[in-house]
Symmetry: C2
Subunit: 197 residues, 2 copies
DNA sequence: TTCAACCTAACGACCGGTCGGTAGTTCCCA
DNA sequence: TGGGAACTACCGACCGGTCGTTAGGTTGAA
């Protein structure tokens, strides 16, 4: 195994195990076995088990934010921007299913400082969608809703996909993204029976 | 502590700890400490740590199914039925936040046999919503969508609420339920830009 | 000769679970 | 009415095993 790759190998083995068994249920020995080295050697590449988890969470969040930002940067029409954002959100989550699943279930494994860093990144990410909802509402394209709640709804619909999506399954990532896109845009445009007071 | 209550005490302490720290990160000793007894005494009430988790998951699922079924049983109009189902789903998840959070994150802690039992119950529950979507589509009230995907979308929107809902927060359970209700019904009624092939 | 990249061996802490035991209560039957 | 068996609800001590982590040694390429 080439030297520069071992750090990556450990990371991808950890991603696989953390997503399948969970962070606490996965031992350093297992990660080492999967990587073809002794468990003590893990500590040459990562400071601790928590450091390994944090690395996974951090790079996933950074990549996600960059990915979605890029997908909407040169579009002005707000409905299209939202469609693009939803689509790229879905794509990212289904293509990097395991990492995203970890990001949404293993937050409790990291230290308070690291936790704050990840939460800050997540807030930054959510703001992309919240701004789009606000933009659309101000333009009269979407009907004003509770922006926070609706943004959570949008994100969790797609994020949850990472929990059940099966790449051998009936539907392609594209197809799923389209269904979500339609559902969300209709939800955003629909009038409410219970208007905000 | 009255004798009959200790089993319940242990259970509710476990619910609190499992939801806050996770199943694997919680030790029997901690549960015992929280319950005011020695850890050996836990084993008088529950066979094992896994048995305790399974008990929590099972009763939560049973209660959930019964609760939602009851809420729609004497209503015939399909939109109203869906609205009721969504509303009771949200209510149940936010009122019994911790248990539901565990139900959606600690499935990996149980044995294969128990896992199958819980998954069967969850399938049964999802079928309630899938039948409603089908009903509504056949009646022409909803536009036909991919029933499975859309049912997952509906359920996860609300379920995710259990992860972030704060009973000290800005919004009441009722208010959140209404927002979701509107969003979902609009999503179900909207026409699709990407029709199923 | 240096140094990155690994190794073996061991550490203390803690894990879930079991053991024998023991107050206190209930119940049966002579 | 009384005595003992059985049962409930708990305890303290302990088990083998695994955990994350560290100290220190080895290897091979540059």
């Amino acid at each position: 195994m080439a030297p520069q790759n071992m750090k990556q190998t450990i990371k991808s083995v950890a991603i696989d195990l953390f997503s399948r068994k969970g962070y606490f249920a996965t031992s350093i020995s297992e990660i080492a076995r999967g990587s073809g080295i002794q468990k003590a050697s893990i500590y040459y590449h990562y400071e601790s088990k928590e450091d390994l988890l944090f690395h996974i969470l951090k790079t996933t969040m950074d990549d996600l934010i960059a990915y979605v930002r890029r997908s909407i940067q040169d579009v002005t029409d707000v409905e299209t921007r939202m469609r693009r954002a939803v689509r790229s959100h879905v794509h990212f989550h289904l293509e990097r299913q395991k990492e995203n699943f970890i990001s949404n279930s293993e937050l409790r494994g990291i230290t308070p400082e690291h936790y704050q860093m990840i939460v800050d990144k997540r807030d930054e990410y959510e703001r992309i969608f919240q701004d789009l909802i606000r933009e659309g509402a101000e333009a009269g394209v979407f009907l004003t809703k509770d922006i926070k709640i609706v943004s959570y709804a949008i994100l969790t619909i797609c994020t949850a996909g990472a929990a059940w999506y099966n790449d051998q399954g009936r539907l392609s990532i594209d197809r799923i993204a389209m269904i979500y896109e339609d559902f969300i845009i209709d939800g955003l445009k629909g009038k409410h029976r219970f208007p905000p007071e």
